[in-house]
Structure formats: C-alpha cells, structure tokens
C-alpha cells in the first residue's frame, strides 16, 4: 500500500465509509487553509498574528505571553479585589501575597496523555494590583517553552489556588511536565482547591457547583459575553488547522475571568478552610 487514497478505500470497504471529519471544506481547500495557517504562525514578517490578536508578545518561538493587571479596587460583582492585600482580609485562608492562582484551557476533558493545556493563566496579588499572566501556545512545538515559563514563575513558598485543580489542572500539568522530562514545579506546593470548600459553604440550593454559578450566587457577578469553557478546545483546533484566530481572544478573556472570580471568591470561604499540602505527584 502506498497512498492514502488506497488506504481510505481499503478501510471504507472493511468498515463502511469513514466518519465525517467535521469539516465542510473540500480536501484541497482544507490543505490550502492549513498551509496558510502554518505560514501565519511562522510568519517571518513582523509580529505573528496570534500575539497581535491576543494583545500579547511572543516570548519564545510560538509562545505568546499576555499580561494584564487589575487595580485592587476592581470589583467582581459585589466584591472588590482591594479587600485582599495589606490588611489581612477576613476569611482569607492564606497570606494573599503568597497565593498563585491557576487556570488552564485544554484540548479536552478526556484526560490521560493525549490532552494538552494550550493556555495557562497564572494570577498573583501584589501590593497595588492583581497581575495576570497567560501563556498561549501557537502550536505543539511551543509546549516546552510554555512549561519552562510556568516553572520560572513558581516560587518555593507559593500557595496554589485553583478551582477543581486537584482533579483536573494539576494532574494534567504534571503529565505535561513528565512528557517533556521536566520536573513538575507545582508538585509539593500547598494547594487550595476552591471547588469543594465553596460548594460546602455556598452550594446549598444552587443548581450545580460550577465556578460560574458560584460567581453569580456568591459574588453577584454575571459575566457578559462569556465563552463557555467547553468551546476552548474547538477554538484552539480552528487556529491550529486553519490559522484562524477566531475565538482565541474570547477564550483568553474567559480564562482571565475565571482567575478574577477565584481571587474574589477566596474572600468568601470563611476562616475554617485549612490549606493542606498538595500530595506529591509525579517524582
């Protein structure tokens, strides 16, 4: 067997026609689109379009860094971020200045080694602002650079704060670090996963325990034009395949909104939550 057409025919004969690939474009058109997309990622002239579209900068080949800072008086619904630093905020479970907020956007929920975190947002409170950094991969080749950038960001005395990170984001990142033969910088950090504490304290009567639901109920904040997180995989896929920036800026905004909501929700836990050290993950 030497060519794809022959294989396709053999498979079709044994198996029935192949499932639709989900793209309406003709094969040739798809190839052309794809080629164009690649050309744009590596575009030699000027700033790559992805960095431009996300208002970020390319810090390594194919890796875009988006930085934002929110003043401490910024409110998420009823709750301002300003309550956090300086004076130790009531109910906040750890030194707010040590908190490292984390949220990822991935290629899916399947788990295992075949899922990639293509956007990782980290948030940190300073004395005058809440700083957000998001790294976005323009392609798989940038993953090592992304992981390296994350590792450089972590401090030894950080307290990790996530929403559902214990079962989702952190194992996934641990897998990615292991795939690249890099030590996992998050392993061993104390980790506050807001999901269960928030649900215990505020979940009664809510339809579900999702971040957005808690954000509306607890903070009184309704997001405008928020892209559902479930659409993130498709958005990156469209970019990969066809080089369309498409919804990527929306995903970045959604990721930032999640981080902001986490920071605000941190103040609504009560003082009963203890931060337990994260269990050691991969060696």
């Amino acid at each position: 067997m030497t060519d794809l057409a022959a294989l396709r025919e053999r498979l079709a004969r044994r198996h029935g026609p192949p499932p639709p690939s989900g793209r309406a474009l003709g094969e040739l058109a798809v190839r052309i689109e794809r080629l164009r997309g690649r050309a744009m990622v590596r575009g030699p002239a000027g700033r790559p379009p992805l960095a431009g579209a996300l208002a970020g900068v390319e810090t390594a080949p194919g890796l875009v860094l988006v930085e934002r800072a929110y003043p401490l008086w910024h409110r998420v619904g009823r709750v301002p971020l300003a309550g956090l630093p300086g004076v130790r905020a009531e109910g906040f479970p750890a030194d707010p200045l040590r908190c490292l907020f984390l949220d990822t956007e991935t290629t899916g929920l399947a788990g295992g080694t075949g899922t990639v975190a293509w956007m990782v947002g980290l948030g940190r409170l300073g004395t005058d602002a809440f700083g957000l950094r998001q790294w976005v991969m323009a392609g798989f080749a940038a993953e090592a650079a992304l992981l390296g950038a994350l590792a450089a960001e972590v401090r030894r005395d950080d307290v990790l704060v996530s929403f559902n990170g214990k079962s989702y984001d952190l194992p996934l990142l641990a897998t990615r670090f292991r795939m690249h033969g890099m030590p996992d910088p998050f392993a061993g950090l104390p980790h506050l996963d807001l999901r269960h504490p928030l649900r215990r304290r505020h979940g009664a009567g809510l339809p579900d325990g999702r971040l957005k639901t808690l954000e509306e109920a607890v903070l009184g904040h309704r997001r405008e034009r928020d892209l559902p997180g479930a659409e993130a995989p498709a958005a990156w896929l469209a970019w990969l395949r066809d080089g369309r920036v498409g919804l990527l800026p929306e995903v970045a905004r959604h990721n930032r909104a999640d981080l902001l909501a986490m920071a605000a929700l941190c103040q609504c836990l009560g003082d009963t939550e203890k931060i337990t050290p994260a269990t050691a993950r991969l060696a």
């Binding site: 294989l7 198996h15 080694t113």
Partner: protein, 819 residues
C-alpha cells in the same frame, strides 16, 4: 448460516427433558490400592470395541539442576524454606536465559512448575538491581493463583517485594500507591490497554525501573485477542523506549505448535524457547472412546454423556480424583446432577462431586479449587473455565465429554490428569458431532498431528489502525518512527484527515477530545457484548453476556434464551444499548432463528482451477439478516409456530475462500439442479468443519454460506430437508434454479470484520481440505447423511431424489477439479 445447519453444533435442548438412560445405582466401595492404570485396564477389558485408540506414555524421571550461583542468598533461603532445594532442568534453563537478558518462552506441559521460571528472575532482578516487574494474565483467577506462590516465597524470605494487583476492581485510592510503590504489578491486557498506557506518566517511576515483563498463558493470545495484544505490546515498547527501559520478556505457553513464533510475533523480538520439561511425570494412558452404534441405519451412536458418566462413575468409585470437562454450561450441569445423585445421595456426608463453570461466584470457585487441591472433593465437572492454569492440584483421571474443538484445547484439558509419581488416565469421549467422529475414525490425526499453530495478524488494518490511534494519544508520533507492518505515515495522514491527529512539523499530535482506548475492545469487535438482564418480578439482574455475533441469533424479541437449562423469554432488545431484557418463562418450546446470509465477491486475490470449477480467496461483502424465528417444542421437536424479527442487518467486509462450479458442469453430473444444490449445502457443512480442524480454529471463527457469488440468492435447508434459494428477506427465489446462469458457490468466510488472516492460509491448504472433506463424507458410517458428515438430513425416502451424502460427495468431487 441457515438454522437447520446450526442445530447439530448446539446442544439439543430436548435432551434436557429426557429421562436419564442410566439411573443411579449403588456403587462399590473404593479400593485404596487401585490406581488409574488399573482403571485403564478394566475399561479396555470391558469396553474394548469402543476404544478406538490407546496411547501409553511411559513415566518420566525428574531432571534436576542447582540454583544459579549468583542467586540472591535471601531468595535462595526463601526457596529452601518453601521446600525448593533445587530446580528442574527446564526451570534453570529459563532462568538462565532471562537473567542473561534473553527473552524466553517456556512451553512445557501443565503442572511442570512453569511459574517458578518467571518468579525467580523477577525476584532476582528485584533483589539485586531494584528492578520492577509487570505480570500479564488473561484472567483474574489465573493471576491470583500464580501470584499466590510468589507471595509465599516473598513472605518466607522477607524479600520486601511489594506485589499489587491492578485491575478493574482496584479501588481509586489504592491506585496511586500502586503506581508509586508497586514492585511487581499484576494486571491483564485490557487494563494495560485502557488504564495504564494512556496514563503512562503516572507510571513513570514504574516504567523507568521495569526489568521483567511476564506474559503467561501465551496460547490464549491468538486470533483477534492475540492480534490486539501484539499491538498493545507495541505501544508498551514505545512507552518503555520513552522511559529508557528495556525489560526482559518471559512468556509461558501451553502446548501449541509454534510458541517461539507466537512469542516473537507478540514482542517483535527473537525469543529463546524452553520446551523440554525436567519435571517428573507418572505413566499416562490416553483412550479415545467412541460410543457404540445404537441405530445402524441412521448411523446413530449412544450419547457421549452416557459414556462419560460410565467412566466417571467407575473412576470415582475407585477413589480416583477425577475431572470431567463438558463443552457447555448446560452439559456441565446435567453431568454434575447425575454424578451427585450417585455419590452425594447422603446429605449427612460432605459432597464428593462439584460443578465448576463461569457463572459461579468467584468465592464459590475459590472454595471448590481449594477443596480439589486438598483432596476433600473427588470429582469436579467443569466447562472450559477450568481449562486454563487455575491450580487444582494433581488429578488421576480426566474425561473429556466431547472433543473441545481444538487439538491444543484437548491436550490442555487432558493435561489436568497427571501426577508426579502415580499413573494417570485421560479419556476423550467422542460425541456424534462431525469433528468428534472424524477424530474417532482418524485417531492418528489427533494423536500425531502437531497441535494447532496459534496465529495472529497484528497488521490487520482495522486493528492496527485502532492502536495507532491509541499510540498517538500516548505519545506524539515523529517522522521516521515505525509501528507495525503498514506504512505509518499513510496511516497517520488518514487519521489527520479524520481530524483526530494534527501534524506539526515532524510530529503528529492527538487533537481530539476523546480517549481512544475506550473504543477498542481487545477481545473482539469494538461493538461490545450484550448483557442479558432478568427483569422477572421487577428484578434487574445481569444473568449473562452474549457477544454481538450471536446476539442477533439468540436475543431477538420473542426468543427463548436458555440459561442453565432454565428458559427465559426475551421481552425487549435494546440493540444500540446492547441490552436484552428477559423474564423467566415456563414455555414448552425453544426458538430457532431463521436467518439469511448474502455474500458478494468484491475482489479475488488468488484464483485456481478451471473455467468450470474454480477455487479462490479474496474479499467479500457479507450481509446477514435474521428474518424471523421458529418455535419448536421440547422433546418432540415439532414446529409449533413462527414469529417475526426486526433487527438491523449485520454487514461486514471480510476475507473468504470459495469454490464455484458452473451450470454446465453441474448439469452434466446431476439429473436436476435441486440435487446439486442439496449437494452444495452438504459439502459446505463438511468443508466448514474440516476448515476449522485444519486451521487453528473454532467453528465459529468461520462463517459458511452457499450463494451465487453476486449476492442475488443464498441457499438454505428448508423444512423438507432440501435446499431452497432465498433472498435476504426470506423470499423464495426458486426460479433462479432454472436460470441460464446458475453458479452455486460455497463460501467459508473469516467471521471477524476485516478478516483476521484465516482465509489466505486456508486457500493454501485447499488441496488437503478437499481431500479430507471427501474422505470424511465417503467414509462416514451412515447411509444417507448425518451430523457427522453432511449435517442433519431427512432420509432420501422422505426427501425424494439422491441421498444428501451422495450429492455432497459428487459436489466435492467436482470441486477437486478446482485445485
């Protein structure tokens, strides 16, 4: 397959209700000095004419070897504490290979101490190098048994090996600890495929230090399962390369013709073989037993069961530890009940007889195995559930109630009887079925034929493709990598087109939001099994599992589904959800599906013969439809009604071998085409059985059909016992008999979608296949045809025309022209 061709392969349900021909009678008390050799003599004296062959294997002495010099002292001490002061020669040989880093396959008989061949290297590597080990067993029960030894050695020597079982029952909180700290992980291929490889990063520490991989029960990995496992192992090796590990593989097999070839095919590397057992063995006799003819006209013999019971009663009465193997759960139950009536009539005494089959709960089975080992049971009646390496200790007598379908399977079961210092006896009782009778007439085929070759086809495109998907999920593929025998870049390009992979530069990345391993079932079609759920009186109990290929024939709405002799009626079939809801019933009938198979030749790969008589193999399109069912009364077998069935057609592309004759040839040989058609149906029946015998295979691994090759009609045996031409919906196409073009064709097709590589080797064997089929039909003791040659037929007087056997013989002779 037409229904009438099927019935001889199934147990006749009418038997359930027939009174036992041999009522229980008091037995003579046990003679403590009697052994299995005495029983063999007594049987030969009394039943000489029924014993068609006898083989005596002399006792064999033990061949010993010392422990390897470098053996860890603590390990050596542990072995001594367990009463093992030296090794059998084959154990030492295997250990030497493994410790020198050479992959090795051990193919010595049952109960020759195979597990020590892998425990020892695994423990030695753990003790001296801190290396970990992975054990793969096809089933849980086996894993438990083989690991029990290891645990005892470990305990005896305080060796510090942490052994963990990782399977579907392992609780979530234990999994983390196993991944992190397990030194020896026991699992099965399915778990490796779905639970471990796709999460290999969590196992990084384990894989980095992996020194030994053990694959026991190698002979079970043939056909579809073996082809899948070969690909799972390709994935494992890819992951191991990623972690820089290069373990030694130790494989163990029961008797098959080609252990080295199978092992090397599975692990894609050269393998040393250890085949000579150094374990001692008492003398053994094997009797091939054919029940006496009770109706010469019909060629009817006494049932195998009646003979099995006779032998079993004598064996148990003599105090010999006995195992009886039956080929169905139902038969197991019936034989158990009869023997219990004889030997366990007194409720105050502990039972001497027990049944053993797949449906019992694990705890019950463990209990029975223990009682067999410690000798408190005298007799066990079992299905193939006990065929594999489950440890039940040594037995004196093994009786096979019917040929189990493969030579290897028969030897493996017979191997259950055999002690180190006492004689043992095996008795294979032939049933009336074709293969049994063939072996009874040609004992040399069974006794001298090398056991079956276990074949795998790891590059079968559909299977390979599934695992390329899984592998891509586990690690991106890079340019220049190899995986299997097909052109990998083309497969990857196909998957890219399917939208599951994304190529970037020199690598292909998994991009779909799915977990591909979950869609692949290693043990058969990806479509999965049906569960049968008993909903009687609001219950909701899963009582059985049925594979997809038989579901359409047994679980249609209205069907009577028999489970352990109890009839259930199928109330509702959820085809897409793969569930059948049944209720217990008192129906006095059973049902028989009426199905039609249409075959169309797509492509012939090779063709031989003449313009008038051709044999070929190639690709075919198969459509099967179950159009309805018959209700048949138990006992009298009269047809008491019909029911409609509405099920989706089952379609597949697969490979086949076929024989086609032209109308010119047939018209010259036969007075009428109807007789020719009858001959084709009988020839197909004989060819099908002989093909299974000559290949490796179960009857079910092949489908058979008689059609015209272009999918217009197919032939089935009608209620009058004669062939009739039908369309897919069952409509009568009898007019095709008179058409100018009439080209009946016998198809034997590979019953696995895509084919698992059975057709091409069968084509190469076509000469022998035809010769054996001819002699089978020619030499049968019946007059007009019977289930042992051309299938169940009505006598010619009732059918009119030539006897079915003569017609089949004529067709087979014409087919010889196609060689």
């Amino acid at each position: 397959m037409p229904p009438s061709l099927q019935s001889p392969e199934a147990l006749d349900p009418g038997d359930l209700f027939a009174a036992s021909p041999y009522p229980p009678s008091p037995e003579t008390p046990a003679d403590p000095t009697a052994d299995a050799a005495d029983l063999a003599e007594a049987l030969c004296r009394t039943y000489g004419p029924r014993i068609v062959a006898r083989v005596d294997l002399p006792a064999r002495e033990a061949h010993w070897a010392d422990f390897p010099e470098a053996l860890d002292p603590a390990l050596a001490a542990a072995l001594r504490a367990r009463g093992i002061a030296r090794l059998y020669r084959h154990q030492r040989e295997a250990v030497d290979h493994a410790l020198a880093g050479r992959h090795v396959v051990i193919a010595t008989p049952t109960a020759s101490g195979k597990s020590l061949c892998y425990h020892l290297p695994a423990l030695q590597r753990f003790r001296t190098q801190g290396k970990k080990a992975l054990y793969l067993f096809p089933t849980k029960a086996l894993a438990q048994d083989q690991v029990a030894d290891l645990l005892e050695i470990n305990r005896a020597g305080a060796l510090g090996l942490r052994t963990c079982t990782f399977d579907g029952d392992t609780p979530g909180d234990a999994r983390q600890a196993i991944r992190q700290h397990g030194d020896l992980v026991v699992t099965n291929p399915d778990m490796l495929h779905q639970g471990i490889l796709p999460h290999h990063t969590k196992w990084a520490r384990f894989f980095e230090n992996l020194g030994t991989v053990v694959i026991d029960e190698l002979h079970t990995y043939r056909g579809v399962f073996g082809s899948h496992l070969a690909n799972v192992l390709r994935r494992l090796r890819r992951i191991l390369r990623f972690y820089g590990a290069d373990p030694t593989y130790i494989l163990c097999s029961a008797t098959i013709a080609n252990p080295e070839e199978l092992a090397a095919g599975l692990i894609d590397a050269p393998v040393e073989a250890v085949r000579e057992s150094g374990a001692p063995q008492g003398a053994r006799s094997l009797l091939l037993w054919n029940p006496p003819v009770i109706n010469a006209d019909l060629g009817l013999r006494a049932s195998a069961r009646s003979q099995t019971l006779r032998v079993a009663r004598q064996a148990v009465a003599r105090g010999l530890k006995t195992i009886v193997f039956a080929n169905s759960r139902l038969e197991t139950e019936v034989i158990t009940k009869y023997l219990k009536d004889v030997f366990d009539a007194d409720p105050r005494r502990p039972p001497r007889v027990a049944g053993y089959r797949g449906g019992y709960l694990p705890t019950e089975r463990r209990d029975k195995e223990r009682k067999l080992r410690d000798g408190s049971l005298d007799c066990v009646v079992s299905t193939s559930a006990l065929e594999l390496g489950v440890d039940i200790g040594a037995l004196d007598v093994c009786i096979l109630n019917g040929y189990p379908g493969t030579v290897a399977g028969a030897w493996q079961r017979l191997g259950r009887a055999g002690r180190r210092n006492r004689p043992a006896l095996g008795v294979l009782v032939a049933s009336s079925q074709l293969l049994d009778q063939y072996i009874a007439r040609h004992p040399e085929f069974f006794l001298e034929a090398s056991p079956e070759r276990a074949r795998i086809a790891p590059d079968q495109l559909l299977i390979l493709m599934e695992h390329v998907r899984c592998a891509a999920f586990e690690l991106p593929f890079v340019v220049g990598e190899k995986f299997g025998g097909e052109d990998l870049p083309t497969l990857l390009a196909y998957l890219e087109e399917q939208g599951v992979l994304h190529r970037e530069g020199a690598s292909w990345h998994w991009i779909a939001d799915s977990y591909p391993a979950n869609a692949v079932n290693l043990r058969g079609g990806a479509d999965g099994n049906f569960t049968v759920i008993d909903v009687t009186d609001g219950r909701k109990d899963v009582i059985a599992e049925v594979d997809l290929s038989s579901a359409a024939l047994t679980l249609y709405e209205g069907a009577i589904y028999l489970l352990q002799a109890a009839p259930y009626q199928v109330e509702r079939l959820d085809w897409t959800g793969r569930k059948a809801f049944v209720t217990a019933t008192r129906a006095d009938y059973y049902t028989d599906a009426i199905d039609y198979t249409k075959l169309k030749i797509l492509d012939d790969f090779e063709r031989g013969g003449t313009a008038e008589a051709a044999c070929a193999h190639g690709e075919v399109h198969v459509v099967r439809r179950v159009a309805g069912y018959k209700k048949i009364r138990f006992g009298s077998h009269e047809n008491i009604g019909y029911g409609p069935v509405s099920l989706p057609d089952q379609e597949m592309h697969t490979t086949a071998v076929w024989w086609q004759l032209t109308e010119g040839l047939l018209d010259r040989r036969f007075a009428d085409r109807q007789t020719a058609l009858d001959g084709f149906l009988g020839a197909a029946y004989a060819l099908h059985h002989m093909a299974a015998l000559l290949s490796m295979a179960d009857l079910r691994d092949f489908g058979r059909a008689v059609g015209d090759g272009s999918g217009t009609w197919s032939a089935v045996t009608g209620p009058d016992g004669r062939g009739s031409l039908r369309g897919l919906g069952g409509q009568d196409l009898g007019q095709a008999l008179a058409a100018p073009r009439f080209r009946p064709t016998v198809f034997l097709y590979d019953n696995q979608p895509g084919g698992i590589g059975l057709a091409a080797p069968l084509y190469d064997l076509r000469g022998e296949l035809l010769a054996r089929s001819l002699s089978l039909v020619r030499d049968c003791g019946c007059r007009e045809g019977c289930p042992a040659c051309v299938g169940p037929v009505l006598p010619a007087s009732a059918r009119g025309g030539l006897a079915a056997r003569e017609a089949a013989l004529a067709v087979l002779e014409l087919m010889r022209g196609a060689e």
